[in-house]
């Protein structure tokens, strides 16, 4: 039964494969960071590979010396907080009755929700509805309302609620709590894991959202940072607009994109290792349903 040598050969090959995957995944990040701290000459000469060449923080100084970037960042934070509050509350309120088998009309309401997972109105009718019919164009509502409840999140939360022990609700009823009291005082505190999971799904979605804002927000001052970043990447924002003097313009032109990308993804990368388990957990609950 001793196959040590075969085991070792496999273990080594597999370990090398894993190292390759890690490098393949991380290299684009490493390259961006290196580029953002490198001089313009080194970037144009193609000398940057892993470490910064002719280290400089010029581009960061220029971008961060102007209020622009912070303003777009602030917009993103506002949209994320508002969007998350609305989405989590609405999803929980909808999922609670749907998790109750005794509600006979759920036979109608659950397919009513599920159908929207497989068929949607499509881009143009949604655009006309939000921008024209409802007149939400250029307001925060166009960003935080249309996607507030997703069928997928409802299914996740409904599945979680259905798994909570019934006895606790009974105890609440004996203590004189009504339906609303049971929901806020018993169900919600017990459901922190799923609430955090949905919250994180929504925050990441909001943080990365650029397409909705590009459709609905004409006023530049209202843009989230992801949309601002897209304009920088598309060369639609000149270094001068970002805040560079004419002398700085040529210096930062080569690294302004990578610097902006680093600054925008930084919050996600920093919190991600600590909240990763909630995402995985969310996927697992969803998988049980599938």
């Amino acid at each position: 039964m001793n196959r040590t040598s075969a085991f070792n050969a496999f273990t080594i090959v597999n370990g090398l494969f894993m190292i390759l995957v890690v490098l393949f995944t991380l290299y684009p990040f490493v390259y961006l960071v290196a580029q953002s701290f490198s001089s313009e000459a080194a970037i144009y000469a193609g000398e940057v590979t892993i470490f910064p060449v002719e280290f400089t923080t010029k581009t960061y100084e220029v971008i961060l010396s102007k209020p622009d970037f912070f303003r777009y960042y602030w917009n993103t934070i506002v949209y994320s907080v508002a969007g998350t509050l609305i989405a989590v509350t609405a999803t929980a309120v909808m999922s609670y009755p749907l998790s109750k088998d005794k509600l006979r009309l759920n036979k109608f309401f659950i397919p009513f929700v599920l159908f929207t997972m497989y068929f949607g109105g499509g881009l143009i009718p949604n655009y006309i509805l939000v921008a024209k019919t409802l007149g939400m164009r250029d307001t925060i509502w166009a960003i935080v309302i249309p996607g507030a409840i997703s069928a997928f999140n409802v299914i996740l939360m409904k599945t979680f609620f259905a798994g909570l022990p019934n006895e606790l609700e009974e105890a609440g009823r004996v203590d004189g709590l009504g339906v609303f009291g049971i929901f806020t005082k018993i169900i919600v505190p017990l459901s922190k894991p799923i609430l955090v999971t949905i919250m994180l799904f929504v925050i990441v979605g909001m943080w990365n959202n650029w397409f909705g804002p590009s459709l609905f927000l004409q006023t530049k001052e209202k843009w989230p940072v992801a949309l601002y970043l897209k304009q920088i990447i598309d060369n639609a924002v000149s270094p001068a607009e970002i805040g560079a003097t004419s002398e700085q313009t040529s210096q930062i032109a080569a690294s302004v994109k990578s610097t902006a990308m680093v600054l925008t993804s930084l919050p996600i990368i920093c919190i991600y290792p600590f909240v990763q388990k909630y995402f995985v957990q969310g996927m697992m609950i969803g998988a049980v349903k599938e």
Partner: protein, 311 residues
Amino acid sequence: MAAHAQNKAVDTTPLWKHVRKEWKLYSFLVIPVIYFIIFKYAPMLGNIIAFRKYRGGTNFFGSEWVGFTYFEMFMKDPTFWRAFFNDLNLSVSYLVVKFPITLLFALLLNELRRIKWKKFVQTVSYLPHFISMVIVAGMIKEMVSLTGPINNVLASLGFDKISFISLPEWFPALYVTSGIWQSLGWGTILYLAAMTGINPALYEAAKIDGANRFRLAMHVTIPGILPTVMVLLILDIGSILGSNFEKILLLYNPLTYETADVISTYVYRMGITGSNFSYATAVGLFEGIIGLILVTIANEVSKRTTKSSLW
């Protein structure tokens, strides 16, 4: 069992009595259901402008009937068919590469014995899933730019530099490679979950029979996760006309439309950029209905072959 019997008893009361008794719980649904009607179902009805002339303005449903005029128009439009086949080409290429690689990666992750190392590889490989598409597209452009690392490697090996981002023949490769980068790790989650559900006694029995790790993977792990593999495969096949709209919109340009323009980006350019709302809606509706048909077929196949289904 008692609770079950009670449910049965409730079922026989008239519906209005049931609603009156449970009205507090039902009242939770009022606002969310109104939300679903306005934001999910109204746009479905809004597709009616594919059959009517929409001249702009707030009237959601357009002004006059034109029947299938817009459908006939796009069916005769070579640009539509180019987008249709690009869509197929991109998603099939992606699926063919992604599916086996993800499965292989999950199997190899499962062989890692040191938990900390395994957790580290998982954490790193999940990360790209959370990065904004804007940044992913920006990264791709930086990586393949003429001064970027890939062209530097080509140059140092004595090849000519390639302007990847403006050559249509390279677009599918960029699309597939970046897709693998984004989803390789995240795609393994459901497989790994399925693997933890395999009965350890099966492994013990196989070991006693003298199976090595390769045989364990082939004869215990793979059969154990086969239902998950099938469901995911069928789901992917069901969404074969749904290439990644945001990524393509951010990555393509007029030089690469030839291979990169797909139905959703075509709808975007026609409708949002070009204001041909009715025409674009007709194309979008066509795509949506094909998607619905494909999911339904996939679901039926899944139900019969693996006994797991979406509804």
